[in-house]
Symmetry: C2
Subunit: 214 residues, 2 copies
């Protein structure tokens, strides 16, 4: 596992000193982000908080954006494996429940808000955020592909679109509408994605004509 | 129409001096937000940009958050009326197209990013943002209620949930996943909301059992 960004090339031995320094720095960065937002991040302060040498932090991460990018890469690596229940709806319910738990967690929710806010005005953070979601979507996409193989969904269903459709309503509440992020919301997010997928909305062949029959 | 927040109570005569001052100040605030983000807002600078007296701006809006709240209230008032095509899918397509146009507009998109970012760490801005979306959802909800009356959708469909389901995937792309905000995305947003609504996902009676039959 390499430390992304400004670090030396080559793999990092798990459990070695480099890995421990990274873990301490990323934890300090995540805590600070959650408590103070992006503007609260300062490499020297992070070094102090992580009890790591300041020059090490400057050398390996270089900038606040570089540090946040590495934090997001680590979060993507750590994200939980997908469910494999054999039912698309159950898999997507598990996915929605995980998203809801994350966004309503005091630390994680605050961290995501800080990073998403920073991404609106920092291109490097936006890129790291996009990659985080790509990794997460790629992890859960096989649930959808297997549903197509089982005949639960139409051929040609775009798996990534279905997975994204589960997260979308939860993030919408989280960031804009302020409607409650409760279990009912997570249930509806999963159910609506599955209902739309079954109706062929996420295939390239437009079936919306059939949906609008009235 | 009253100026929300710190202004004097009583209605503002359209076309009168108070209304013109408000329009100039809100336009300057919106331009500055789009160009520089929330942190670029300064009441004295806005007053200069709007060619309005500084004491007027301080007296009527008081704080940056107060100004942004009034801007959001004005944006809610100005938002376009709903479509009334007689077809739920066509109405929701129009809704999705409007959201897409707004988020991909250089000025409006930047403005929304700035306000949404600010809302993650400022409670007053978050509240004003929630109210903005409430007004917008309330404007489009009759499309859904009329679809229920026409028999296009099941009884007991939560109209606000359907309208929010159209915006959600577009905001998700806008703020997190970075996937393209193209016409196909808008089409899928409308189609998926309608497909899920038809499947009864947005009624209080759980019909998800039927969806998962496999």
């Amino acid at each position: 596992m390499t430390v992304s960004g400004e670090s030396e090339p080559g793999s990092v031995r798990p459990g070695g000193r480099t890995a421990r320094v990274r873990a301490a720095v990323l934890e300090a960065a995540g805590d600070t982000l959650a408590e103070q937002g992006f503007h609260g991040l300062d490499l020297a302060e992070i070094a102090r908080r992580a009890e790591v040498g300041k020059t090490t932090v400057y050398r390996r991460w270089g900038t606040v954006a570089g540090l946040v990018a590495d934090l997001l890469a680590d979060m993507a690596e750590q994200s939980l494996p997908r469910a494999e229940t054999g039912s698309l709806l159950e898999d997507m319910r598990a996915n929605a429940a995980l998203v809801r738990r994350t966004l309503t967690d005091p630390r994680q929710g605050a961290l995501f808000k800080a990073v998403i806010a920073a991404a609106t005005s920092d291109a490097r953070t936006a890129e790291a955020l996009h990659r985080f979601y790509e990794v997460r979507v790629a992890e859960w996409a096989p649930c959808v592909r297997e549903a197509v193989e089982r005949g639960e969904l139409p051929e040609g269903t775009d798996a990534a679109e279905v997975v994204r459709a589960v997260s979308a309503p939860l993030y919408y509440r989280f960031l804009t509408s302020g409607a409650p992020l409760d279990e009912a919301a997570a249930e509806r997010a999963a159910s609506s994605a599955v209902a739309a997928a079954r109706a062929g909305v996420f295939t390239s062949a437009p079936v919306t004509g059939r949906v609008s029959h009235d």
